[in-house]
Symmetry: none
Subunit: 392 residues, 2 copies
Amino acid sequence: MTIDDARLARVALGWLVEPGSRALWLRVADHGPVRVLEGLLAGGREAPMRQAAGARLGDADPRRLAEAALARARRLDARLVIPEDDEWPAALETLIDICDPNATDPIDRDAAPPLCLWVRGPWRLDEALDRSVAVVGARAATAYGAQVAREIGYGLASRDWTVVSGGAYGVDGYAHRGALAGGGITVAVLACGVDLAYPASHASLFDRIAEDGLLISEWPPGAEPFRHRFLIRNRVIAAITRGTVVVEAGPRSGSLQTLRRAGELKKCRMAVPGPVTSAMSVGCHEQLRKPQEVTLVTGVPQVVEVVGAIGDDLAPVPRGPEHARDRLAPVEQRLLEALLKRKPLSSEAVAARARVPAPDAMRILPSLVMRGFARRREHGFVLAPDDAGAAA
Amino acid sequence: MTIDDARLARVALGWLVEPGSRALWLRVADHGPVRVLEGLLAGGREAPMRQAAGARLGDADPRRLAEAALARARRLDARLVIPEDDEWPAALETLIDICDPNATDPIDRDAAPPLCLWVRGPWRLDEALDRSVAVVGARAATAYGAQVAREIGYGLASRDWTVVSGGAYGVDGYAHRGALAGGGITVAVLACGVDLAYPASHASLFDRIAEDGLLISEWPPGAEPFRHRFLIRNRVIAAITRGTVVVEAGPRSGSLQTLRRAGELKKCRMAVPGPVTSAMSVGCHEQLRKPQEVTLVTGVPQVVEVVGAIGDDLAPVPRGPEHARDRLAPVEQRLLEALLKRKPLSSEAVAARARVPAPDAMRILPSLVMRGFARRREHGFVLAPDDAGAAA
């Protein structure tokens, strides 16, 4: 299996099954995308998958469609990023933890990580999203909400924080405009293909974002923004950021679902208050009346205080004696850095990630296992927990 | 010692020593006002008291001044209420617990209960203040703050809660006006004599409050509103209410001191959010960022939820069997619903509120009194407390 096979298989699977499917994600984690796609197309043991794919199976050849989508993306100067790529945001993988198989709402059952992301823009995902904050809210923002969203977008950008939002009218749009004016990176996570402008009047805004920031979508170029996709999409916004700020929200605003996801993912939740006479602040105030959970913020300094602190709190993971790892040869270190903590990677995949010749990886990885730096799993290698082998 | 001696002594002591003196309050609690005054005038063991009284001792005869103040009050139709009176609000006594002898700020050292209160208005203090909420905030209220203060005042009054505030421009004034419009009791706690209008343009507002509500002051008629008196006064507002709501407040608003006092006294603290772009909401937002302490409220239902719940904890008023009232004839029920708990209404007024012919009201109301559902007062009828007559 090459990384290009994985790419094609992930796109094909994404076309067959709507993003978020917990069952599909678990199968892919166990067997890799190529084998799962083969099984799905061949019938047989993939019954739950075939059910999820439903009518689309047999409709057309998913591999062909995937190839066409990839070709279309190349023409658009868009690219596909998959978990096997270095720049894949590791935080997305935590979404599997918040899937609730017993939930009545399918959106809560199937909140699994994306299989792949389509991306337009000049930045690596991991780098752009390392210090990022979601700024979300009502489409029907008031003048007040527009002003606050723009100021928060601007202020975050000027402090070198990436702004993440959807692509809607109102708070989303103003947050992006503020970030662009602040000279920072802004990321629009769309519920349709990265080549579609929805709403249409945001076409030039999206072009600017694609130039200076990032447009991201789980759906391939050309995919339409069906209504349910916005709610599926929200989990990505919550997962790739350190925290979510709701600027304005009516009582049933979709942005409150993003805030909830952020809570489930143990990210910071923030809301901006507003006039109690404004319907567009009702949702924010309701959230702020859960005081242990959602922090009132009045501007960027307070937002940064919240996400900055949490970032620092999370970051100093107690690490084993680091010098043992420092004594490894450079090629060994690169292979080790290419390993993931939980997801097993084949030696070929590790070699590709580490940009090391495959035969070298095949030779060195077992020795890293022997010295306790890595572990062998059924389907490949993972990093040993907390550098267990460091003492060796 | 008669109660009139106590009255005179308390007024004289209040003239000698600025309200709030912890040392004086403790002496009076131990020895009674008459003996403390005698000691103070005779010199001797009352050294700390003499120090507190300072230049005023020997300046004039405090007993004469007290008599003059009481005479002036009678001419104004004002009265003096002292702790020896039934109607003295017991909650005031808890102020002694929050005096901090080690505080650097004298306002915090000397936050003792008032020695007496001068009162204008038709209500007993204890009854008027039993279910009361302080609504305070910035003098320089914005149009938004004015609207919210008025609505909260109105809403509390219509739900039979007493509004308590200062007498200042801005939030204080609007809260009172709202409560008056809502037909409820509103109480202005002043930092000057109850005969002075400060600010002058509030003269007619104060007259209306003296008619339908209460004007209260620790200072005798004629006393001027020195600046430090507002901060001394705030402790009374916090102590006589079940909770304090700040509607709008700049970062250093005096209303935040009232809120702090409410916290020290274990009363509910609430704040109304506003636009983050408004300087007049900065103080509220700062308070709301202490989430375990101050509750965000957007309107009267939430205020009542907070103070009502605490009230229920404190006072699970056992109610008589309610079905007795259900057995009344429809017209009787309507008349009963038209009565107020505290403010006597003429039978004509009850008829108008109940939309019942006046002769019917004149005939039925006395029978409701006889059966214990209503009470006759000098100026009309009131509802019997907690359907006292229901069992009849």
